[in-house]
C-alpha cells in the first residue's frame, strides 16, 4: 500500500516536472503584464477577460470549433471510405493510388501553401469557412492508419453483412465504422488536434476577423504590437491557455480509446 502510494506520488512529481513549462505558462497567464516584467507578484483575471472580450476569443473559439470539427468529420469520412476500399478490394491501380495517398505524408505543408492560396483565390473561396476547411480535409495519414486497422477486422464481418443483404456503403457504415470506432475516435482526436493547432494556413487564407481561428488570434496577439512594441506575454499565455483547454478536454474524453484505437493500426 505505502509502496503504491509512493509510486503514485513519484509519478505525480515526475509528471509535474515534465509539465512545468506548461504549468508555468498557465501561471503566467494570471499575472499582470507589469508584474511579469518587473518580476513581482500581482495576480489578475484580466488577461482572460481581455482576450475573450477585447480580442474576440469567444468568436475565435467558435470558429476553431466549427473549422476543426468539420475538418475532422469530413476528413474522417473520406479517409474511412478510402481506407475501406484500400483494405478490402484489390483493384487495378489500387496500389498506386494508395502509394499516392501515403506519399502525402512526406509533403511539408509549406510546399502547398502558396499554390493553394492561389487556387482558392481563383475560385473565390478565401475568407470563407470553405476556404479554411477544404484544403485540410484530405488526410493521407488517417487513410493509411485506418486502412491498417480495418485490415485487422475479420473480413467475415463484411461478408456476413453482404450475405444479410447489405450494400458496400451499408457494410461500411453499419459494420466497419462501429467496429473500428476506437481507431476512428483516436484518429479523430489526432485530426482535430492538428487542425486546431494549424496556424499557417488560416493565417494566409483568412483576413476577415470574423473568421479567425484561435491560433491566428493567438499569433496576432503575439505579434500585436507594431514593429517597435513589446509583447504582452501574460495576455498571450492566457490566450494560449484558452487554446489548450478544449483539446485537453477532448483528450481526456477519448484517452480510454486512444491506446486501443492505435493498437491494431500502428502495429500491423
Amino acid at each position: 500500500m505505502t509502496r503504491d502510494r509512493m509510486l503514485t506520488l513519484g509519478a505525480l512529481a515526475a509528471g509535474l516536472l515534465f509539465l512545468s513549462p506548461v504549468l508555468y505558462s498557465i501561471w503566467m497567464s494570471f499575472q499582470t503584464a507589469n508584474a511579469y516584467y518587473t518580476g513581482t507578484l500581482d495576480f489578475t483575471l484580466r488577461n482572460y477577460a481581455v482576450s475573450i472580450g477585447d480580442y474576440g476569443f469567444a468568436r475565435y473559439l467558435m470558429n476553431s470549433i466549427i473549422v476543426s470539427g468539420l475538418v475532422t468529420i469530413a476528413g474522417l469520412a473520406m479517409a474511412t471510405m478510402a481506407a475501406f476500399a484500400f483494405a478490402r478490394w484489390t483493384f487495378r491501380g489500387g496500389n498506386l493510388l494508395f502509394a499516392a495517398v501515403v506519399a502525402t505524408l512526406m509533403i511539408p505543408s509549406h510546399i502547398t501553401l502558396i499554390p493553394n492560396y492561389l487556387t482558392l483565390a481563383r475560385v473565390g473561396l478565401l475568407d470563407t469557412y470553405a476556404g479554411l476547411i477544404l484544403p485540410a480535409i484530405s488526410n493521407g495519414f488517417a487513410a493509411f492508419f485506418l486502412r491498417q486497422y480495418i485490415r485487422g477486422i475479420p473480413r467475415a464481418l463484411d461478408e456476413a453483412a453482404y450475405m444479410d443483404g447489405a450494400t458496400p456503403l451499408q457494410v461500411l457504415w453499419r459494420v466497419i465504422v462501429p467496429v473500428a470506432r476506437p481507431a476512428i475516435l483516436s484518429m479523430g482526436l489526432f485530426i482535430f488536434i492538428s487542425e486546431w493547432n494549424n496556424y499557417i494556413w488560416p493565417l494566409v487564407a483568412v483576413s476577415d476577423q470574423d473568421l479567425y481561428t484561435l491560433q491566428i488570434g493567438l499569433a496576432r496577439l503575439y505579434k500585436l504590437n507594431p514593429g517597435e512594441g513589446s509583447i504582452d506575454w501574460p495576455l498571450v499565455m492566457a490566450a494560449s491557455t484558452l487554446t489548450i483547454l478544449p483539446v485537453l478536454l477532448g483528450f481526456l474524453l477519448v484517452e480510454r480509446h486512444l491506446v486501443r484505437g492505435i493498437t491494431m493500426g500502428a502495429v500491423k
Binding site: Y37, A121, R220, K223, E228
Partner: protein, 396 residues
C-alpha cells in the same frame, strides 16, 4: 447610401496605438460621411508585407496600406503602389509636412507613401540604476566610449543582481549607431553599398564587443531582440537604444526613472528615420483611390497627427502639430518625448531600393554571428557586402 466609398486599409497598430488610430478614423468618417474606412490590423510590418505579397496575385489587395519606410521600394518598383506625386503636389498639406516626412515617401523621384508614424531611435536610460551604480550626476552619453564606460561601471556594480550595462542594440538602433559613426549600410542618396566601409566595420566591432568582448549586453538580446526591451522595461538593463515609439510603454514601466537622450554622436550626429507611411494600391478604382488619399491627407493633418503623437510618442510629421493643445500638453507632461523631435535636424531617411528587404533580412544572421563571436567582424561584413551586391544585381 449607395454612394458610400469603402476604403480597405491594412495597418499594423494594436493596443493603445490602435485605439489612437481608431480615433483618427472616426474623426475622418465624421468629416467624410460618404467614405467608409474599413481598417484591419494585419500584424506587424513583416506580416503586412507578406500578406500584401500574397494578396496581389490573388487580386485581394486592400486599397490603402501601411508600409515600413525602407520596404515599400519593392512594391513601388513593381508598380503595386500608386504614384502619389501629383496628388501630393496638389495638396496644400505638402507644404506643412516636415522635409524629412516628404522625403521619406519618395522612391526614385516619385512619391509613393505619405508618412503616418515616424520615429527615430533615441537613447533611453534608467536613472535609478545609474544612481545605484554610483553616478551622482548624469554621465556623458555622446560617444561609443562614453556608453561603454557607463555600461561597464553598471555591470561591475550591479552585475551580481543580474543587471546588465546595456541592452544590445536592435536593428534600428544598429543602423543609427552606424550612421553616428559617419557611415551607413547603403548610401541613402547614391545607393552605394557601404556594408564593408571602414566606419561601418568599426561600428559593428564596437557593437559586437558589447556582447562578445565586454559582456555588458546579454546574448539573449542578440538572438531575440525583443528581450533587449523587456530587460530594460524590467529594470534589468541600464541603457536601451530603441525607437521613440517605445516612449509610452517605457514611461509606464519605469516612471520618473526613465530618461531619454538623443542617440550618441560618435563621429557625427546622424540618425535614421523609421516608421511607416500610407500608400495606395495602384489597381484600386480611381474613386476609391481618391477617397483613400483624402484619408491619408487627413491622417497627416495637425489635428490627427497631434492625437497620434501624444498617444504614442511617434514624432510629429506636420509642422503645425506642435501648435495643437494635445501636443502641447504632451510636451509639458512627458519629459523626453521631445527628444526625437529635437534630433530631427540630424535625422535622415534611409535608402529603399528593393534589395533593402533582402539586406535587412540577412543582417540579423550576420549580426548574430558577429555579436556571438562566431565570425570575425571584418570578414563577415565583406562577405555580407559581397552577397548584397550580388543580390542587387540579380534583382535588376
Amino acid at each position: 447610401q449607395t454612394d458610400t466609398t469603402t476604403v480597405e486599409f491594412w495597418h499594423s497598430f494594436g493596443g493603445s496605438s490602435g485605439a489612437a488610430l481608431d480615433r483618427i478614423i472616426e474623426n475622418f468618417e465624421a468629416a467624410h460621411p460618404d467614405i467608409d474606412i474599413e481598417a484591419e490590423h494585419v500584424g506587424n510590418y513583416n506580416d503586412i508585407v507578406a500578406r500584401l505579397q500574397a494578396a496581389i496575385p490573388a487580386n485581394r489587395a486592400p486599397d490603402a496600406v501601411i508600409m515600413e519606410v525602407t520596404r515599400y521600394g519593392l512594391f513601388a518598383d513593381r508598380g503595386v503602389l500608386l504614384d502619389l506625386t501629383d496628388k501630393v503636389a496638389a495638396d496644400p498639406l505638402s507644404d506643412d509636412l516636415f522635409d524629412f516626412a516628404r522625403e521619406v515617401g519618395v522612391f526614385e523621384g516619385k512619391n509613393y507613401i505619405v508618412p503616418f508614424n515616424s520615429s527615430t531611435p533615441v537613447l533611453y536610460y534608467n536613472a535609478d540604476i545609474l544612481d545605484r551604480a554610483g553616478f551622482d550626476e548624469e554621465p556623458p552619453l555622446e560617444t561609443y566610449d562614453d556608453l561603454l564606460t557607463v555600461a561597464q561601471q553598471v555591470q561591475e556594480e550591479l552585475g551580481d543582481e543580474g543587471i546588465r550595462g546595456i541592452s544590445a542594440p536592435g536593428q534600428f538602433a544598429r543602423w543609427g549607431l552606424i550612421m553616428a559613426n559617419d557611415s551607413d549600410l547603403i548610401d541613402s542618396t547614391t545607393g552605394e553599398i557601404l556594408i564593408d566601409a571602414p566606419n561601418t566595420v568599426e561600428a559593428y566591432e564596437w557593437m559586437a564587443d558589447l556582447v562578445h568582448e565586454h559582456d555588458v549586453a546579454s546574448p539573449d538580446n542578440v538572438t531575440d531582440e525583443d528581450t533587449g526591451k523587456e530587460d530594460f522595461l524590467a529594470g534589468r538593463s541600464a541603457i536601451m537604444m530603441n525607437s521613440t515609439g517605445n516612449y509610452g510603454e517605457s514611461k509606464e514601466a519605469l516612471g520618473d526613472a526613465l530618461k531619454v537622450r538623443p542617440m550618441p554622436c560618435n563621429k557625427v550626429c546622424a540618425t535614421p528615420i523609421g516608421g511607416a507611411g500610407i500608400g495606395i494600391i495602384a489597381s484600386a478604382e480611381a474613386r476609391v483611390q481618391d477617397a483613400a488619399y483624402d484619408f491619408i491627407s487627413f491622417a497627416a493633418s495637425p489635428e490627427s497627427n497631434a492625437i497620434w503623437f501624444s498617444e504614442t510618442g511617434y514624432m510629429p510629421i506636420n509642422r503645425h502639430t506642435a501648435d495643437q493643445q494635445l501636443a502641447k500638453d504632451a510636451l509639458a507632461d512627458k519629459p523626453g518625448i521631445d527628444v526625437a523631435i529635437n534630433q530631427l535636424d540630424v535625422a535622415r531617411g534611409r535608402p529603399r531600393p528593393p534589395v533593402v528587404t533582402w539586406m535587412r533580412a540577412t543582417e540579423y544572421d550576420m549580426w548574430q554571428a558577429m555579436a556571438l563571436g562566431q565570425r570575425e567582424v571584418e570578414e563577415t561584413l565583406q562577405d555580407f557586402a559581397e552577397q548584397t551586391r550580388r543580390e542587387e544585381q540579380r534583382q535588376n
